[in-house]
């Protein structure tokens, strides 16, 4: 397996505070890697070390097999959560400047700047100074500046912060295109669970500087949390108690309750357990009148792993 980024026992201490504690992560080439954690969990600190902006206290980071200190500049592009823009330059001037800083040849630069402006819907604002752009446009330019040199690894630190749904769609499509069409490795940190779920191939959840879980979104949702909720109404509500008793005997079922004449069944990967539920219902000689499933979300997984306490 080819890994683009490998962090081994990565640790960062600020005086008495251990912000990142022996983090071990391997990120595959060409995947979108979600990096989740509550505020102050150590996400940004980890990322800053992974891109070489912050020295680690101990541990090692390899980018494509090369130690972070020795990689060629421009291997990584970072789109920070703060807007890092020159207020008095236009979109085009900003992109041209960063292209020059990465030594992009002139002809390629012209094409690439134009393509980025088109892909991120900034063409009409090419010659507008940054201070006059809307928040969404600034976010998109912030991303464009990070990828003008077409880096192998793109780090997106909360890229959707404050974006409206339309701008978010543009951004998501661009992130998917970076993976699917350009084959880049993307590291994504976000507080938007639907964003992480929608975009990530794998997700790492860290808290208190430690890796708690690393898996695909599907596996996480199927294995962690309070489970999916199956809401069903039987043709004869008098059979509700009998069905509930029978379901409770199965260890795969987390909980079963009756509410307003309906049965709520909680189970991880509930869709996979529907055949079992059907068997129980048939056994009780009753039919289903209505059924819906509310799936376990990544947010449920996140809360289950990190708790509900505030961290700020």
């Amino acid at each position: 397996m080819d890994y683009m980024i490998e962090a081994i026992d990565l640790t960062k201490k600020f005086d008495d505070l251990t912000a990142v504690d022996k983090l071990n992560i391997k990120i595959k080439k060409g995947e979108v890697f979600g990096f989740l954690g509550p505020n102050g969990a150590g996400k940004t600190t980890s990322i800053r070390m992974m891109v070489g902006l912050l020295h680690s206290t101990s541990g090692k980071i390899f980018i494509n097999g090369i130690e972070i200190d020795k990689i060629e500049k421009g291997t990584i592009g970072i789109c920070p959560q703060e807007l890092m823009l020159w207020d008095n330059l236009t979109c085009k001037e900003s992109l041209n400047l960063m292209a020059d800083m990465y030594e992009v040849p002139k002809q390629i630069k012209i094409q690439r700047v134009q393509k980025l402006l088109e892909d991120l819907f900034l063409v009409e604002k090419s010659n507008t100074v940054v201070s006059k752009l809307s928040g969404g446009m600034k976010r998109r330019l912030n991303l464009a500046l990070s990828v003008i040199h077409e880096p192998e690894v793109v780090v997106l630190d909360e890229p959707s912060e404050g974006l409206d749904p339309q701008s978010r769609r543009v951004l998501w499509n661009y992130i998917k295109a970076m993976r699917d069409e350009q084959g880049r490795t993307v590291i994504l940190t976000t507080h938007l669970m639907d964003e992480a779920d929608h975009l990530s191939d794998r997700i790492a959840i860290i808290d208190h500087g430690k890796l708690i879980r690393l898996d695909t979104p599907e596996n996480l949702k199927n294995e962690i949390g309070e489970g999916d909720v199956v809401d069903m109404k039987l043709s004869e509500s008098s059979k509700n108690l009998e069905v509930i008793k029978e379901l409770e005997t199965h260890k795969e079922i987390i909980a079963v309750v009756e509410a307003n004449g309906r049965i709520h069944i909680r189970a991880l990967n509930a869709v996979g357990k529907l055949p079992l539920m059907m068997q129980v219902i048939e056994k009780c000689n009753v039919e289903i009148a209505d059924l819906s499933v509310r799936q376990n979300t990544l947010e449920d997984v996140f809360i289950d792993l990190t708790g509900t306490g505030l961290r700020e």
């Binding site: 902006l53 890092m84 330059l89």
Partner: protein, 416 residues
């Protein structure tokens, strides 16, 4: 050539930041105008000039007979001269030895020193003989060379020198006319100058005002003020994260700092031209032509680079642009006083390896100021200010290296 892209970026940011540009260009003009109106006529103020007189004159035999010492006569005259239509004395005279006079000059107890040579009386008699037709055997045509000595970096010296030069001319004419009157009816020839007063350290104007002294100081003050603005901009670049973006790229410290140097140096040059123009309008006695302006721009640019270097040092320690602006002001204003932009501070000498020099001379802007004064006020050329320019350039280079090292260490490396 990434530094060119950085230079273009900085230039665009500079001209699009109207408020910043307003502060950089108009604030010094405002100062120049205040000082112009306040001190434009100060040279004519009725206060006595403190001078030391060193009289080496050995006297001579008058054409009319008898020994006479014109040196003593001139000294007494200097003590008695008053301002026109005033009973205020023109000079406070201290008669002393040359070494003591030099010492008083260094301490600024006196503004100027007049050295009357030993053949002063002989030259005066030559003057009288040639101008009146009187005969004497005791003298041939003799020319003497009194010296007016002073510190050309000291404003009071200008006014004292100007007054002394005027008095010396008046004294010669007065003596000649006195003899002519004594031998009434004799058609005297036009007085021939037998006394060539040498003004050391002065090559220019006869009518200095305090403003002439202050105007180059205002230009240096403006150049120094650049440090505050640039420090704030450099810190803002770090604060806004754009510096981090650049750090991630292939840009080197040299590209960022050298690229930034270009537009700001041009600003320093532009400041020299604009402020000189304003000063001339306000009554500066500007000496020299277009060449002096070009030379002044070069001197100003070197001073500007020194300010940029200072800005890097300030930006290395400031946490945000407001702190940089405050810290900058805290450093720039006292530095302006130290380099003598507003008035000369008491001289403080230090000795290193047997060489004695003023502590202020360690600051590059001190030499920028001296060179600008020499070029703009005395009309001196490159040769006369080459030493000051060299010193300024060397000190600027040292400051620049310190600035680059500190800024690179604190701002351009990965955080620990």
């Amino acid at each position: 050539m990434k530094f060119i892209s950085i230079a273009v970026k900085d230039f665009k940011e500079l001209i699009r930041d109207r408020r910043g540009l307003f502060f950089i260009l108009l604030f010094p003009i405002f100062f120049m105008m205040i000082f112009g109106f306040a001190f434009g006529g100060m040279g004519q103020e009725n206060t006595p000039h403190n001078i030391a007189v060193v009289n080496y004159d050995q006297g001579a035999v008058l054409p009319t007979g008898g020994e006479y010492n014109f040196g003593n006569n001139l000294t007494n005259g200097l003590k008695d001269f008053t301002y026109t239509n005033s009973n205020v004395k023109l000079f406070n005279v201290t008669e002393t030895s040359e070494s003591q006079a030099d010492s008083l000059l260094k301490q600024r107890t006196v503004d100027a020193e007049l050295i009357i040579p030993n053949n002063f009386s002989v030259s005066m008699i030559s003057l009288i003989v040639n101008s009146t037709g009187l005969q004497t055997n005791s003298v041939n045509n003799t020319i003497s060379a009194p010296i007016i000595r002073g510190d050309e970096g000291y404003s009071n010296f200008f006014a004292s020198e100007s007054a002394l030069s005027g008095v010396m001319t008046e004294y010669q004419d007065g003596i000649v006319n006195g003899y002519k009157n004594q031998i009434a009816g004799t058609p005297g020839a036009e007085p021939i100058k037998f006394i060539n007063t040498t003004v050391q350290g002065i090559s220019g104007t006869q009518s200095f005002t305090q403003f002439d002294f202050l105007a180059p100081g205002m230009i240096v003050f403006a150049i120094l003020l650049l440090a505050t603005t640039i420090a704030a901009i450099l810190t803002r670049e770090a604060d806004s994260g754009t510096l981090e973006r650049l750090k991630m790229s292939k840009m080197r410290s040299f590209d960022l700092l050298f690229g930034g140097l270009i537009p700001w140096s041009l600003v320093a040059g532009a400041q020299v031209v604009i402020l000189l123009g304003v000063a001339v309008i306000l009554g500066l006695h500007w000496q020299g032509g277009i060449n002096s302006v070009i030379l002044a721009i070069i001197i100003g640019i070197i001073g500007g680079i020194a300010s940029i270097s200072l800005a890097m040092i300030i930006a290395s320690f400031a946490k945000n642009d407001r702190q940089a602006a405050n810290l900058g002001t805290l450093i720039v204003v006292p530095t302006s006083f130290l380099v003598g932009a507003f008035f000369q501070l008491p001289q403080v000498f230090i000795s290193v390896l047997g060489h004695s020099f003023q502590v202020y001379e360690l600051l590059p802007w001190t030499h920028t100021l001296s060179a600008l004064r020499a070029v703009l006020i005395y009309g001196e050329g490159l040769n006369a200010v080459a030493y000051q320019i060299e010193l300024s350039a060397i000190l600027t280079a040292i400051l620049f290296i310190i600035g680059v090292v500190l800024f690179s260490k604190t701002r351009l490396r990965a955080e620990s």
